[in-house]
Symmetry: D2
Subunit: 238 residues, 4 copies
């Protein structure tokens, strides 16, 4: 059983009527709703909960953490970010969605600005499969479309990913590496571009397939020892 | 003319007799001494200077920054680290030597612990050229030896490098990726394992060749625009 | 002085009126014409010349080879391909243009099919700079446009490149990694998507800038020893 | 059930007494013997069988192919190599052992010489885990030893691997990237350095663990569509 925690800053949904209508129980619950299945169990966590809902105990029982944030990145305390980062480096999977490109946790693991250009006029995005054999692309086909998204444009300020799984084409003229994977020490990471709060993107069945695939892919195969910094004995004596 | 700044925490040399005898003017000056040449001009900076010697003006006039630190990583203020990091991402080259694997600036750009195993009994290191065509390996040969070093051992907690230029073999039985390159946004980075303070490593001519090569390699070809995060106009209108 | 050889199968231009009007002296000469400058000297070679114009002597005097082919890939003898490949692995730069994705030399160095999807209806391509600090992107800007191209679409059957420098957006809905770099042993390689024979693409000033940048980038920094397979002496004796 | 085919040129074992004593039924059967288990079924194939034992039907029923060759690389017909390569690119896993670094199939998929330096005096190899979280390293520990091996030394003429899982230290002074992964189109590949015919390396339990891990890792998650080269319809019409 894969144990997933879906984290959401849960702000727009409470203060913006349009968003509240699309995601009446919050983006986290919309994701939790489609994700739970025979091999995946889901809990949620939000910014306003104690410890942002991310106590050490919660993380100890999380195989894959999904992160959605946008307006409240700076409200996540640094010690929580460090705690999450330590778990990723030990092996917990991390999936960052859409505006989470600017979350503290993503930037901290990337080491870069994670900047990009953006445009918010409800463009059509056509998402192309670049690596059809990648487990995250299973069942996706040559491309799929999202009728309205927030546009993100290159250059995207990330280190070179392990694999570019998807690339996005926008009707208004831009391109973006829309689905990219990384690993950092023992942990696997997936960044996925779609997911703007004002469009019902998390109800799209292909988006749901991709996030479910990503959860299974990011789950650690096994828990390897953490990389520590020991003073070691000489291995070889003449 | 390539403008290099050599940064050193400059601690051991002041308080440890053995180190002071090897590097009477500090490691920074030992590096500056061999580095200056017809196409490279060098200045130094140390922890105890105002702004750690790394004012915005200094950085604005630095093409490549060399970093040596060991015991005083935590004494470098976070805002200085952020300032240096911003310049690397804009295009300044960065060369981190030996125990700088644990410096705030290196860890922040890597996004990982940069942990490793270590042993300090004056082992012989044989450094192998893995990528002989890399500009940093110019003039190095199949391998070279350092009679006494601090041993570092894998696993080394870094993201996969762009290139492994050198790999180290230690008489006591360990291996290490001793020379690795990265780029982060516009900036090029080189990490080089040798350089322990209790051994006269920076007087080794091959080490000097490698650091000089690395300076030339890390110098930005040209200054590209910084990656910002603009709200952009639609490119394409039907 | 960088010594460039521009190779062209030189077929369309002789048998197809449209192409002949655009490139009356052949694509190779169109490229040679804009490439020659104070630091670059250019010669050309074509399929019908003895040895395809690629004698060992020519290759010995070539720093960077540019390759254009389309209909006559299979007419290049295998031993010529092996000769060129050996030189790339020793350090000669190689730039493959457009339909050269299916040339024997490119496929042989990639180890993959280099397949892609294509469409030939004169689409507009907008080429985005993904890595603005890469030397090949110098002077290019955020994006540039080619009013009519042959469309190439992902998935592109290549190994993961070292760097994706450019990505292409096509008016008809596709995306492509339009400018990608590799190194294979001592040699640097650049693949560039634009260059269809029925459009005057090699007269576009930005395309010319990119190819000139690529020539300078692919030129070997220095000639490293070839990777051979020697039976070596023991380095270390107890 | 993972269907593995173990291919062996099966030459030394028939003509060299020392090798015959170590591997009386051939290296292929020694590997098959330890590999078969509840989730892995194994068949073998050798050079002297019709079609080298690698008919299309055999490949159609193979999830992962293991390859051992040394003296008879050139006896494998090119059309068999092309057949195997096509299957790897479609998704079949490939594990190349020891001297298979010079097999036609490995070189063809790498696009490089795959050269290395070597020494054959029964050196101790200590193999270090560089990426402890990689599925192939499961159960291996910090390092393990092989008392006698053929030594391979860097530089190893391969493209940069996806991951360096293991690095080898040799008593005689050399280092080598002993366990490296690649993917080529839909197929996953693992190269593993140990396995010389004159030493009983395939009876080592850690070597057996690694090869079994590699089989499970290289098994395609699912069979994605082959990358073909279709002339496609326009996706987007204004």
């Amino acid at each position: 059983m894969i144990r997933v925690t879906v984290w959401n800053e849960y702000y727009h949904e409470k203060y913006d009527k349009t968003v509240a209508e699309i995601y009446p129980n919050g983006i986290h619950n919309a994701i939790a709703d489609f994700l739970g299945c025979e091999d995946i169990e889901v809990r949620t966590a939000t910014l306003d909960e104690p410890d942002c809902g991310l106590s050490q105990k919660v993380l100890d029982n999380t195989d894959v953490l999904i992160w959605w944030g946008h307006m409240r990145h700076d409200f996540v305390p640094d010690d929580i970010v460090e705690r999450v980062k330590a778990e990723v480096l030990k092996g917990m999977g991390l999936i960052c969605l859409h505006s989470a490109h600017h979350s503290k946790i993503f930037r901290s693991l990337m080491g870069t600005t994670c900047n990009l250009s953006w445009r918010e006029d409800g463009d059509l995005e056509r998402i192309w499969t670049v690596n059809p054999a990648h487990p995250i692309a299973k069942g996706v086909g040559r491309y799929f479309e999202l009728p309205q998204v927030e546009t993100y444009a290159e250059p995207f300020g990330i280190p070179n990913p392990d694999d570019v799984v998807f690339m996005g084409w926008y009707e208004g003229g831009e391109v973006f590496r829309s689905g990219v994977t990384f690993h950092r020490e023992n942990g696997k990471m997936f960044y996925f571009q779609p997911g703007h709060e004002t469009f019902p993107i998390f109800y799209n069945p292909t988006v749901q397939t991709i996030i479910r695939n990503a959860v299974r892919w990011a789950t650690p195969t096994y828990r390897a020892s953490e990389l520590s910094c020991p003073n070691v004995e000489r291995v070889h004596n003449k």
